[in-house]
């Protein structure tokens, strides 16, 4: 079981105290972020990528399936948001649903081909499909704008029937993204702790055992992948709004690798909140170290190597060990076994 879900009462809740505190803190961000030399747009990016990384962690952490081409679904969401806005209807809600649906469908299609796989071959196949979508995005100039990207995407107003909010300002958009993030996180928390989520976690621990208990392992693996792709696509739609454009770059192998890195550095294998920590660290490091030196990726790469070698449980694991006086060794073993399960899923 995950570290973050120790008490069963917390797991049963829709909204946990941790979430409430996190949301309250996040709600104050626009008040002070410019004073410490950063800017609200960074906050938007962190929230969107956090949602994306948490969706990705459904596959990596909960199901134990190494997907290395997840950027594709994030990117498909971004393109779908833009295309829906241009060609179908310029309504925020419809466009966001379209983003999630398009990415979910793409994920379901890929899941058809890969869900009987595990381990490294699973990773290989997800890379291949990620590359297919990336090549399609770059080469279909007429639809996606090729390497220049799909430009002039608008931040549509959030229309609630009686009131309508304009989101063109970064602070207003930040609060919209925060609301979407809050809803998304609560939904993911429920999903992970639902009977369905428990079965998926059981499949991570032993595919054979779950199959012998009568669960349709293939269907669970396929559906969790499609769900993860859909939520990634939703985050991608938000990202298109944030950037006012959709670029093929997020679909590249590199960017897909970054989300794996963020999730693992943060501790997604042992904690529900791990991906958020990883994204926060990655994007803040990019801006803070990036302002000092061009070679920030060099230092982040070295940090990543160190974490893989010495702290496979990630930062969330280290924090929770410190907070709850777990012996670090026990946790490290848990991180190690989680890592092992990622590949050795069925043994």
């Amino acid at each position: 079981m995950m570290v973050g879900s120790k008490s069963s009462s917390e797991a049963a809740r829709l909204v946990t105290p941790t979430m409430l505190v996190l949301w309250l803190v996040l709600a104050t961000v626009p008040l002070w972020i410019t004073r410490i030399g950063l800017y609200p747009y960074l906050g938007i990016e962190i929230l969107i990528w956090s949602l994306y990384a948490m969706a990705f962690n459904l596959v990596l952490g909960t199901a134990g399936l190494p997907s290395f081409g997840h950027g594709a679904y994030f990117g498909i969401g971004a393109y779908a948001f833009g295309l829906c806005q241009f060609d179908i209807v310029a309504n925020l809600w419809i466009c966001l649903v379209a983003a999630a649906l398009a990415a979910g469908l793409a994920g379901a299609l890929v899941a058809l081909f890969i869900s009987h796989r595990r381990g490294i071959y699973y990773a290989f196949m997800t890379i291949a499909f990620g590359q297919i979508f990336w090549t399609l995005a770059i080469k279909s100039h007429r639809i996606t704008g090729g390497e220049d990207g799909l430009l002039k995407i608008k931040r549509l107003p959030a229309n609630f029937g009686l009131v309508s909010f304009d989101l063109t300002d970064n602070v207003a958009f930040y609060y919209f993204v925060l609301a979407a993030f809050a809803v998304g996180v609560a939904a993911l928390w429920r999903l992970v702790h639902s009977p369905y989520g428990r079965v998926v976690a059981a499949i991570r621990q032993s595919e054979t055992r779950a199959a012998h208990l009568g669960y349709n392992v293939w269907l669970y693996k396929a559906s969790i992948f499609a769900l993860s792709a859909a939520v990634s696509g939703f985050a991608g739609g938000l990202f298109a709004m944030a950037q006012l454009a959709a670029f093929p770059d997020v679909m590249s192998l590199h960017q897909s690798g970054y989300v794996v890195m963020m999730t693992l550095v943060g501790g997604g294998l042992v904690s529900f909140w791990g991906p958020v920590i990883g994204v926060f660290l990655f994007l803040t490091a990019r801006d803070v170290i990036g302002a000092l030196t061009n070679a920030w990726m060099l230092y982040f790469g070295l940090l990543f190597i160190a974490i893989v070698l010495f702290r496979p449980e990630g930062i969330a694991g280290a924090i929770s060990a410190a907070l709850q006086q777990h012996s670090l060794n026990a946790l490290r073993q848990r991180g190690t076994s989680a890592m092992r399960l990622l590949v050795g899923g069925g043994r």
């Binding site: 190494p66 081909f113 796989r117 595990r118 381990g119 490294i120 071959y121 990773a123 290989f124 196949m125 890379i127 291949a128 499909f129 590359q131 297919i132 090549t135 399609l136 080469k139 590249s252 192998l253 590199h254 690798g257 794996v260 890195m261 693992l264 061009n294 070679a295 990726m297 060099l298 982040f300 790469g301 070295l302 990543f304 190597i305 893989v308 070698l309 496979p312 190690t336 890592m339 092992r340 990622l342 590949v343 050795g344 899923g345 069925g346 043994r347």
Partner: protein
């Protein structure tokens, strides 16, 4: 290279030849990757970065400003380009091999654990090497000078052919043959294969397994660097070339089947032919064709063409 619209079989010939040379290069690129996967059951995602590093180091060595003390540099530059090129073909892979040695020292901690550790570690290493390349050489494109004997082109049946492509394909075939001899026909190869098969017995027989693994890994990185030097004049030298190489490499391995030498070579040729022929009909989409080839093959043959069962499958 020929760009005429392909209609008859004879018109297709240039594309077939082009595909074959490309296929040999793909097989060469995949060779080092394949050795490390097949013999050590480790996935070296830094393969592409080491490939790029080889090309950059070679470019620096043959270029107008070699990284040597002023006097030595002057002597070095008086040598004819052919000599310098041949010397570089040996020196640059050795330098990259040293980097590979460093990666292997880190990787030791992950042996006996999950292969995913090695994969993640080398992903980090790839990032670090690529960033180093950007720091030292910037993001601009470079050209690797080659001796005039293998440069230029010739005309055959009304088409212009690049001499270098044939030279590169020949070298690739030669190196593939040499590696095959080394693995299949020498006692070193036999020991390495035994080590991959049953490390405990090999250790019990008094063979220094960690030195053996170091040798295999360094050999794999040296092959990556050689591939980089051979391919550089065709693809050009830029920071992104590593990614352009590692993806076909892993594709060739999955297609050919993990642990199969001839599987990798045949898959390399197949991918090259596929890309070459797709280029004849829809050049925009030629890169996509290799992914589709992979998906089609792997859907029907789970372990690729000649894959054996390995621990990587779990």
């Amino acid at each position: 290279m020929p760009v005429a619209k392909a209609k008859t079989l004879f018109d297709l010939l240039p594309h077939l030849l082009n595909g074959l040379t490309l296929g040999l290069l793909f097989a060469l690129i995949a060779l080092g990757f394949m050795l490390i996967v097949g013999l050590m059951e480790q996935i070296n995602l830094a393969h592409g970065s080491l490939f790029a590093l080889g090309a950059y180091v070679a470019m620096q060595l043959t270029g107008p400003r070699p990284p040597l003390p002023a006097d030595l540099a002057r002597i070095w530059l008086t040598l004819p380009l052919g000599w310098r090129y041949v010397a570089t073909l040996i020196i640059a892979p050795v330098i990259v091999g040293l980097v590979g040695m460093l990666i292997e020292f880190c990787m030791r901690r992950t042996y006996g654990k999950d292969p995913l550790y090695g994969l993640l570690l080398t992903f980090g290493a790839a990032m670090v090497i690529e960033e180093m390349i950007r720091l030292v050489w910037g993001t601009r494109d470079y050209v690797l000078q080659v001796p005039s004997a293998i440069n230029g082109g010739f005309i055959f049946s009304d088409l212009i052919w690049s001499t270098y492509r044939f030279y590169a394909a020949g070298i690739a075939a030669g190196i593939i043959g040499l590696v095959w001899l080394l693995i299949e026909k020498t006692s070193f190869g036999a020991t390495v294969k035994a080590g991959a098969h049953d490390s405990e017995i090999v250790r019990a027989l008094g063979i220094n397994l960690s030195r053996l693994r170091l040798l295999v890994f360094v050999f794999g990185t040296v092959l990556a660097a050689i591939a980089g030097i051979i391919v550089a004049p065709i693809w050009g030298i830029r920071p992104h070339m590593g990614v352009d190489a590692v993806i076909p490499a892993f594709l060739v391995i999955v297609l050919g089947g993990v642990g199969s030498f001839w599987g990798a070579v045949v898959a390399g040729l197949l991918v090259g032919l596929c890309v070459g022929l797709a280029g004849a009909y829809a050049s925009e989409w030629s890169l996509l064709s290799m992914y589709i080839l992979l998906v089609v093959v792997v859907t029907f043959r789970a372990r690729g063409l000649w894959g054996k069962k390995s621990v990587l499958e779990a």
